[in-house]
């Protein structure tokens, strides 16, 4: 019995292994090709590109990794990490008000943002539990809704209900935060703690260490009972329920973890950028992180750490080279810019369509077999 199955399995895999690789990695392969062409057309030197890649990886990867657990738990791509990003920004605004700079300020921002992120994550989870099967669209809408609340608080409550008297951050009328807050006082506080220079490429060691630790934590969680529950949920929520797993609670934990990670990720992101666009910084977070993950070959139902790394690498390489490539090819950097937002949104749409199509084909094949 045993051998029979093994053999038939092996046969199957060897026969279609090449096609399998193509099919399984079609998206990343496509983007590798586009990136190569882009690098060639941009005529940039490799040191510059590598430097940029390292900066962007260390800046964005944490946010992308925040998406993995909800995907595993069958909740799809968590568009609601926008809300986590807002929690992160609350932490940053707080240290700006408290005027704490440097690495202490950075740690303080993490600390302050965490309770907010836990609260937001819990709320998001509660709502997503009421809209099972429509988590992605609900998460997207929740992000927009939370944005409204965020504006309400920081545009009208600051200086009125919340007494803040700091002309550096409050609009000249005395009410509401300014559009852009200067974060110079904590910029590079993490990145520059230890900086290595390898052949002209500057590497922010501590930031990368942060990300590595997160990867190990994620791997650890996957191997625990909780991780097993996530995976069971991701496959079939009904069977998980029947076998006695508390599905609602598990989903709540998944989304809360994701939200907290997003808050921290946003702080890491902004400490590198050095400016907080009070009302915009969080808006694109969900889209870009999701696009990066999808470029790595992840889907709505499956995402790994490797896919997150590869995806972030490819997506941001494209970001770096496309303006230059556009300028060289068409004489206009703007065309490259158009191209890259086209890519960002196009990738999401394509991936969702592919996912729906695969699901349809699966059912279709099942019908045929029957």
């Amino acid at each position: 019995m045993n051998t029979q199955i093994d053999i038939s399995k092996r046969k199957q895999t060897s026969k279609i292994s090449f096609m399998n690789i193509l099919a399984n990695y079609s998206v990343p392969i496509l983007f590798v090709i586009i990136c190569m062409l882009g690098i060639y057309a941009s005529k940039l030197n490799m040191t510059y590109i590598l430097n940029e890649i390292v900066i962007r990886l260390s800046r964005n990867l944490f946010l992308v990794l925040a998406l993995i657990i909800p995907v595993m738990a069958g909740m799809g791509l968590n568009f609601a990490i926008v809300i986590g990003a807002m929690a992160g920004q609350i932490g940053l605004i707080a240290i700006k008000v408290l005027d704490m700079g440097g690495f202490t300020g950075f740690l303080m921002a993490l600390l302050i943002s965490t309770p907010f992120a836990l609260l937001f994550g819990y709320g998001t989870g509660q709502i997503l539990n009421k809209t099972k099967g429509k988590e992605m669209i609900t998460g997207l809408m929740l992000g927009y809704f939370a944005n409204g609340l965020y504006q309400l608080v920081f545009l009208t409550f600051m200086g009125t209900i919340i007494p803040v008297n700091n002309p550096e951050i409050i609009l000249s009328g005395g009410v509401g935060l300014k559009n852009a807050l200067d974060l110079k006082f904590i910029q590079y506080s993490l990145d520059n703690l230890i900086k290595l220079d390898i052949a002209g490429v500057k590497i922010p060691v501590v930031t990368i260490l942060f990300i590595l630790v997160l990867c190990f934590v994620l791997r650890f969680v996957i191997k625990t009972k909780l991780g097993q529950d996530f995976r069971a949920l991701g496959q079939d929520i009904n069977i998980a329920e029947v076998s006695g797993i508390n599905t609602n609670k598990t989903r709540l934990i998944a989304i809360t973890i994701s939200t907290v990670l997003a808050a921290w990720g946003q702080i890491i992101f902004l400490q590198n950028i050095g400016t907080l666009n009070t009302y915009n910084s969080h808006e694109q977070v969900g889209m870009f992180a999701i696009a990066a993950l999808l470029v790595g070959g992840a889907s709505v139902t499956k995402a790994t750490i490797g896919q997150a790394v590869v995806g972030t690498l490819l997506f941001h390489t494209l970001f770096i080279v496309s303006p230059f490539a556009g300028k060289n090819l068409f004489g206009d950097a703007q065309i490259g810019e158009y191209f890259r937002s086209f890519i960002a949104y196009g990738v999401i749409a394509l991936s969702l369509v592919l996912h729906a199509w695969q699901k349809y084909m699966k059912e279709h094949n099942k019908e045929k077999l029957g």
């Binding site: 199955i5 625990t224 009972k225 097993q228 995976r231 496959q235």
Partner: protein
């Protein structure tokens, strides 16, 4: 005496909304025996199992009366968890397996073996690591107990169906306290050789002292594997016997046997009438759960043809396939012209009409009036009940006057009890809803009318009215009727011929007056074996 029984049911009765589905049922299962429970669909087997398992559906509908004694003690099973704690396990008909998990992970689902790590000591049990090694060892042992030698780390996806069934069983026997295992039609989805292996495994399990309650339609399996047999019919336990005293014919007769009241007393000599109105050749319909796998059947003009068989054998799929509601292939001829399959519009244009078994889903627009329900198909397909707007042909609008008068006529002819033609169909009783469905089918002026489960969910008085109506349509309007029903009694009361479907194919055609044993054997797919027994 009593101590040797692991499970005893005493005088179990159950009502669903005043409808008695179980009447004073007694069942005794000895420890370590294989006890077969056989009966037609609707005999009450599932309800009985739901009671044993404390399913919510039982308690939300008023509970049951009677006594359950498990292992010598009277028990009150309120939830599936209670049943599991007592040591009652169930192998589901549909697999409860996660395709992406390995066999081991599925066997140990939510009962994983875990061990502490530094994090879990602080954050609690949920962060415990999985002890994969111990899990694999357990899984391997469970599989070996079933006589399976398979790598326990293979994913479920890609395993043959038979193996999945074994994994499901392995999961149950992995529960250490298991005393009684219920198999709900376990061989329904298996091939013959897989089924044989399963039966062997069942014997192995029972030899370890675990009692097995085996629900099945396959009578030869009952004879080959069980120690004793309980037969149920219409919610009653009609017989209990030791397997050594049983024969195929005896079981079949007890399963089906009931007094038949013929509504139509003369059975017309359909032999004289040889005009074939519809020929079905090698019809295959892909209807989940009711698959048709190559059916050949001829329908004679002017007859009432019954289609019977047990649930899941494909009888429901036939009409759904011909009408294009589910994907089908094969050939269907109306007289000499071939009917285009998978095209509902063409089917209706060719004077076929269908009253669906899914009355509230497919059959009716529940929030629309009776009159619109009656005419809507005709409006859509035949362009009737329309008038042109200002004489322009392109702008057809509905002809309220014609609709109203037709609806009133139908309501009167079919005796639909309602407040008027504008009443919403949702508010009607089951029987009257069914009449609206029939009225719509009649509006299409069909030559062949397919009726599926016409009396399902209708109270007894209304049942007779619906059946009478079908006979009337047949006799007075000359409509050929093909009636599909799970209730054999109903088929035998009005049909001229009854085709029995087994495993997606025609098992045979019987006269309504043929013996109970013949019907029973045919429905169990054992008609050919009759001579042998």
């Amino acid at each position: 005496m009593d101590e040797q029984y692991i499970l005893q049911l005493k005088n179990i009765s159950k009502e669903y909304f005043g409808n008695k589905v179980l009447k004073e049922v007694n069942l005794n299962v000895k420890a370590g025996e294989i006890h077969a429970l056989v009966g037609e669909n609707g005999a009450g087997k599932s309800t009985l199992m739901n009671i044993i398992f404390g399913m919510p559906v039982i308690h939300s509908t008023g509970g049951y009366t009677g006594e359950i004694i498990f292992d010598g003690k009277t028990v009150d099973i309120k939830s599936p968890k209670d049943a599991l704690d007592l040591g009652i396990g169930m192998v589901h008909q549909e697999f409860m397996l996660l395709p992406g998990f390995t066999i081991t992970e599925n066997i140990k689902l939510n009962r994983e073996i875990t061990k502490h790590n530094p994090v879990s000591r602080i954050l609690g049990d949920i962060m415990k690591s999985l002890d994969i090694k111990a899990m694999r060892k357990d899984a391997k042992e469970d599989l070996q107990k079933l006589g399976m030698d398979i790598d326990e780390w293979l994913p479920i996806q890609g395993l043959p169906v038979g193996y999945m069934q074994f994994v499901e069983i392995a999961r149950e026997i992995d529960k250490k306290n298991i005393r009684l295992l219920v198999f709900d039609e376990p061989t329904a989805v298996l091939t013959e050789s897989e089924a044989e292996k399963l039966l062997e495994a069942m014997k192995k399990i029972s030899s370890q002292g675990i009692a097995i309650l085996f629900i099945t339609h396959r009578l030869d399996e009952v004879l080959s594997v069980s120690d004793s047999i309980t037969i149920m019919r219409d919610g009653e336990q009609v017989s209990h016997m030791n397997t050594k005293d049983a024969t195929l014919a005896k079981i079949a007769e007890l399963m089906v046997g009931r007094k038949i009241e013929r509504v139509v007393h003369e059975i017309r000599e359909s032999k004289n009438n040889n005009e074939i109105i519809m020929t079905i050749k090698n019809l295959k319909v892909n209807m989940p759960g009711e698959e048709v796998k190559g059916l050949d059947l001829e329908v004679k003009k002017g007859e009432i043809l019954g289609i019977g068989g047990l649930a899941g054998q494909g009888k429901i799929g036939i009409a759904n396939g011909i009408m294009g509601l589910y994907k089908s292939s094969g050939e269907v001829y109306l007289g000499n012209t071939k009917l285009e399959l998978n095209n509902t519009r063409k089917a209706i244009e060719n004077k076929l009409a269908f009253v669906s078994e899914d009355r509230r889903g497919v059959g009716l627009l529940l929030d629309t009036s009776i009159e619109m329900n009656i005419v809507i198909t005709s409006m859509q397909v035949q362009n009737r009940f329309l008038k042109s707007l200002f004489g322009i042909k392109l702008f057809n609008i509905k002809d309220d006057k014609a609709i109203r008068s037709w609806a009133l006529k139908m309501i009167k002819d079919l005796d639909i009890r309602c407040t008027g033609p504008t009443q919403l169909t949702r508010r009607l009783s089951g029987g009257n809803q069914q009449k609206v469905c029939i009225a719509r089918a009649l509006t299409l002026e069909p030559e062949i009318l397919f009726v599926s489960e016409p009396t399902r969910g209708i109270d007894i008085g209304a049942k007779k009215l619906v059946l009478d109506l079908l006979v009337k349509l047949n006799r007075e309007l000359g409509v050929t009727i093909v009636m599909t029903s799970s209730e054999l009694g109903e088929l035998r009361s009005i049909c001229d011929r009854i085709a029995i479907i087994y495993d997606g194919k025609l098992e045979g055609i019987l006269n309504p007056t043929d013996s109970d044993a013949d019907f029973g054997l045919m429905m169990a797919g054992k008609y050919g074996a009759k001579e042998v027994v």
